[in-house]
Symmetry: C2
Subunit: 244 residues, 2 copies
């Protein structure tokens, strides 16, 4: 109960949600682990069963915990395999999914551009973190990528820097370090010519056609949490879409 401090203008169930969120984000409650039974937890926090249940419902709605029929409530897992399967649509010419290797080439923080602000629904000039990555497919550099994240959602962003590999694990990092679970995305696809910088990064001629993928990623509340702009060299790969 020492965590529930007055004065705090927020409703009690929101404060409880924040406390439990922190336990998940900090790793005190680990991925895949069962959380304490509700009566025990309510007693520990000194809140009513109703308040606790409301806080848990919000965590469940954010996909941070999941209830399993008759077996209790568990901290959700988000594995890199799940994230890759959902979000990474690149195939080689044999139609096989490929697993990217990612190398971070820079991390900076600065005011959002008008484009970033619009896509991430930020006020003009709000701070964003930018992560630049080069991604390899089947051993060759094929993707030049910039990820922009609202700094308010990713306080003290800390990432293992280059040359450490970091692939779809970045979504696992959002979850483990910042409590943000990505559940959906909208992508706009177009074609663009490689700039000098992109050509150097990807080993292609200046002006070579690249597949430009602009992705906005959303959490369970429908809040945009990431803008990701990727340039894919399609000399040996395709972006696959299934329409059913």
């Amino acid at each position: 109960m020492n965590e529930l401090r007055r004065p705090d203008a927020r409703p009690l169930y929101v404060q409880v949600e924040a406390i439990l969120n922190e336990r998940i984000v900090s790793g005190e409650w680990k991925s895949g682990q069962a959380i304490p039974a509700e009566p025990e937890l309510a007693a520990e926090l000194g809140v009513s069963a109703g308040t606790l249940r409301r806080a848990l419902a919000r965590l469940e709605q954010r996909h941070l915990i999941e209830r399993r029929q008759g077996r209790g409530t568990y901290v959700s897992q988000q594995t890199s395999q799940q994230a890759l399967g959902l979000f990474f649509r690149v195939r080689n010419f044999a139609g096989k999914p490929v697993r990217p290797e990612s190398f971070i080439t820079g991390v900076t923080t600065g005011p959002a551009t008008p484009e970033e602000a619009a896509r991430l629904r930020l006020s003009p000039g709000e701070a964003v973190h930018r992560i630049d990555r080069r991604r390899h497919l089947e051993g060759e550099p094929r993707i030049a990528e910039r990820i922009a994240l609202p700094a308010a959602l990713f306080p003290g962003l800390s990432l293992p820097l280059a040359p450490k590999q970091l692939g779809a694990e970045i979504y696992v990092h959002y979850r483990n370090a910042h409590g943000i679970i990505v559940v959906s995305a909208e992508e706009d696809l177009s074609a663009a010519s490689a700039t000098e910088e992109e050509a150097a990064l990807l080993g292609c001629p200046v002006g070579a056609p690249l597949l430009l993928i602009e992705r906005v990623t959303f959490d369970a509340a429908g809040r945009p949490v990431e803008l990701r702009v990727s340039r894919l060299d399609t000399r040996a790969h395709r972006y696959a879409v299934e329409i059913v």
Copy 2:
């Protein structure tokens, strides 16, 4: 019964299916219309209730007819609006879906290329029809497109030719004139440079980056019925993907 002729090596229910298919394709049974009750139809064709039901099940599986609970069996409709909503993913910069206008620039028949044969699962050299189209978005030529169709599935292909407009209605034409209903597609996206011919057609510079969309379209039986290669000028439009 005069339609059921011997010798015909095919099982009786397949022959019945072909007869009923012909009634739909010829327009004798129109889109959205109820078909005769089963006992009446079985008597007319001189087949058992079981044989008729097996034929109807196959037509239903091909989405040519649909059963409505307690109201009978109807010839399915496929409107251009449905086909557009499912298959046309292009948006303008405001995020609004756009409706293409299509102009056929050529129709030819010839042996399949190795690429066409592979994608359409044809034997090398089997005949395909090829339809070339120029498609306009919001008044400007934006898409250069070639459609390849197995000639065996589209006998005597007849299309209203240029300059008549023909948009997503082409899928309605497949259904109405050939009994082929498209239900799913796989697309491979990449980037390509405009050739001289494409540049002239689209009014863009030679070498301009184009979004290349290679679509294989399938019927309800999972059979590839169309290979469509589209080149989209993305100066004012995007191809939208939702990931959920």
